[in-house]
Symmetry: D2
Subunit: 308 residues, 4 copies
């Protein structure tokens, strides 16, 4: 008979977020237990000076109100590599330029919203009149970037230098955190960059150059770990940098609602990555299957309490 660790039933009181997480951790079962494990693993990654943290994020996190939570990750150096979708950069830049997202509902009449010029993201809304300002900023900024061939990441570093304070691009620039956005052309911001370069000239942005940068970091890291919010291209881009480097990763957190059964990368649980040599068989990893707009800010709140 193996030695079994009993589940300590959670006792609630007036407690801080991290106290709640620690209570979840003692119970350590189902979603609550895995959420606590995620905080512990992330804390370990941060405290492990040899560990490079690859942070990937997809999904409507800025329209969900989590913009500053993403900023927290960058400001506190809780990411050594940051990979995101174009939509994340677009929505963040829009807010940094002074625009807002608004409260909506999935039950609103979409034809009516369309007439009002409001774009719906589930129960959040964005006005189409953000685009002229965004375009203006892009045009002004692209002109400042050298007309040479560069990777997406290098381009975003240049762009970040001229981005408003309190934007992902600017903070990553200032903190010197490599920022990757593999499908940059797949978002409003990217489209505007394209048209600005067509109109005024500008850099030639090469699809492949970033691979050298992220692979170098992955090769040279003594240890490494991944924090994946939502899956998508950011997840796969991190995972392939683990696969095509000699050492698999030591840590991994995944926050997703996607299912594993259809076989897509977003829903694949971390254990599967062991077969690919992306994670060590004895790596510490956990999959929290629950809405990341809830779990991600809880994890960051608990970490702030533990570490700041």
């Amino acid at each position: 008979m193996p030695r079994l660790e009993p589940i300590k039933q959670i006792k609630l009181s007036k407690m801080s977020v991290d106290e709640l997480i620690r209570a979840f951790g003692k119970a350590s079962s189902m979603g609550a237990g895995r959420l606590a494990e995620a905080v512990d693993i992330y804390e370990k990654m941060i405290r492990d000076r040899d560990c490079k943290i690859f942070f990937g994020i997809a999904g409507a996190m800025v329209p969900a109100g989590l913009r500053y939570v993403i900023h927290d990750v960058l400001i506190n150096n809780w990411a050594d590599v940051f990979v995101c979708t174009g939509a994340t950069l677009t929505h963040d830049l829009i807010e940094a330029l002074g625009h807002k997202h608004y409260k909506g509902s999935p039950d609103l009449d979409d034809a009516w919203l369309n007439k009002l010029g409001l774009d719906r993201i589930y129960d959040s809304l964005m006005s189409n009149n953000v685009y002229p300002d965004l375009e203006k900023h892009v045009k002004r900024t692209v002109k400042k970037i050298p007309e040479q061939e560069m990777g997406i990441s290098e381009f975003l570093r240049y762009y970040g230098k001229y981005s408003p304070k309190h934007s992902i691009l600017r903070i990553a620039y200032e903190k010197e955190i490599p920022l990757f956005c593999p499908a940059l052309q797949d978002c409003g911001f990217g489209i505007m960059v394209h048209y600005a370069i067509k109109q005024f000239g500008g850099p030639t942005i090469n699809v492949f150059k970033d691979l050298d940068d992220i692979f170098d970091i992955s090769w040279e890291a003594k240890k490494k770990g991944s924090v994946v919010v939502g899956g998508g291209v950011p997840k796969n881009f991190i995972m392939q940098s683990f696969q095509f480097s000699p050492k698999p990763a030591d840590y991994g957190i995944q926050l997703t609602m996607d299912r594993p059964e259809p076989g897509g990368s977003s829903g694949a649980p971390p254990r599967e990555a062991v077969s690919w040599g992306k994670f060590k068989p004895k790596a510490s990893f956990v999959n929290v299957v629950s809405d990341a707009t809830i779990t991600f800010p809880i994890i960051i709140a608990a970490l702030k309490e533990r570490l700041l």
Copy 2:
């Protein structure tokens, strides 16, 4: 153009659970916003003296470590009607009799677990040697219950009188909260009650009697609301008591991971219930689609902070 309420981006700091929830509420979008709304609606139900709260729970909440969280609901009178699955009563009674659940993993070898006499509930384990103690308790208790015809709820009230302190059955008995378990025969506890009655005699438990009790409460309530954790029979049993009474309900919270598309009751969003006359068109309701083992304790922690 309608007046739009901007999403206030969440700022995290060392904060209590309810402070986090209030920050979520200002953002008020996606899962985080709906979780905050759920706390607000539950608080309103509790503060509304005219409101009878119908609380339903399904799923492996006790093996997940949430036993005392369920007790909190009863102890604080945050349920006027309590409906649960047989499994909830079984796992709670097992713990109340001094047994434990244990930490496991979905990757364990189930044939090996079976040889060890360990039953797996996703990543939680229970030993088969809980059954003799449970059986003993059931046999001893059933003998004390009058040999008359009664409903399931009445039976559970008698049983609760003799249940261990810190059990759902006992607390509901002491707090005089009507406890319904419509499929009592669909659990280990129910099976043992059946065999005890066969062996020693005991009450005749009538399938239908409970309907009068729950319908009376639903008819007589000036206002009412539902708190549904996980769906299943408890959800439907509450909802039909709303349907077959003249006044639809005023409030509703639902915590689930089930999808609406296949048409089952557990995944059906609260708005659908308006068509059935279960909720008023202007009722305050919200569906939090996220793992309830995370959201349910957060809601109760926030309520304790607000109300105790």
Copy 3:
């Protein structure tokens, strides 16, 4: 190196449903492969004369248009035990009495539907004027049933004798297939039975009696298997009959959209049941995670092609 079986890429042409399934089976991966495996396992159960098939169904299958598909299972003796929710019996009886369900949409205005007396089940509608006819039938039928104590299953057998042709109740009666509905009081039909008995007298329906019936079948079966559509109480009621009998089951099919991570019974994959002694470690079982309103009729169509 283990001997590996290559995935044969599916080639489509004008093909029958079973030809498609056989092509899926050669590929035998992801959802398509598991669906093919489900057909194979169900076919084996049917061809295995020693095997008793426990069939459980939950969810809005009749409003989804699958009423005759359920009937097919009974008519062809592809169930030796049939367990369902009350809603299944209610919707089936309503159609058998000549009423219809209607096409709707999840985007309809539920307050407007409520005024029209239309109840919405995701994108299907039912009119409230089915209830008077249902009530009339229940009152008329209950009077014919002996005023004695009986289990739910026995009651449904009596009721089935007087049910309209082409109803689940009548077919199960005629085919002598034991029909269980553990939470009979949790549906419109059950509520009407309750009121009819109150008004005119009738049987006393005992919660527990059915346990003897289903346990006897489970004990005496040389071999057994489960077909579970949608989960819920029907799944658990079948599974506990496997658990509390000496021999675990040999076959199992599950069609569900529910997730395993929150720990509930509906989403639990069949392998977990091995730890409980519900399935043999070497049992043939498969979990098809896909909308059962699609997969269930496909399986039955393929079986009709293979076996009739």
Copy 4:
């Protein structure tokens, strides 16, 4: 009272795939009904000579055995624009070069698989020894491509010319179907292209050039529609080409298991796209929430039966 269309209960017999779909269509409710609607809408798009079909695919469709099903779409001109993930091209090319995927199980020991050099994709396996052949092919092919600046799509067209018969790349080349893979660097194939170009020289592949191509098609199309399998970048890349062109689309099919609630693009139902001006308010669109490895081949089988 609106005129209601009754649900015709599905009757199964020995039937072809399309006969089954037509039976589903008469019932026209829940998943089965939506699947039938998807076939009808896709058929309309194909028959509508003014309609340009934008086809996007993500997820492990080739490891699932659906390689030839994807080819069917191209061969029959059921896509005027084809957008996919890098993984789709990688797995397809690997098979076209003579390698296979193998049957596996999610319960296999991933550390053991890693030692054997087998990569797991849920319940499908791929051997690491596909990579040398893939590398050889890439090196040989890249040398044949002009050393000039080009977009990803143009590069893939060149590559397709030298790809093996029965590969997506070759068929798209021969059928002159524009093929987009916005995150080409996010897959094994892309990585090898990168290293080949570094080693031998080759084209400079520009991130943005494709935008002109896909936007031109979207602008010039009299009518247009989308077929989205699995979501991800392919979905968004199609949808933004609809958004940034004057006319919204007329048709849309989506096959996904992703949820809408967390706000990500993959799970967003088609109606939401109306607010963005991606779909006309009166467009014909449907969301089939079910495993696409089942629904996608069924749709193509039904279309072959109807149209070939």
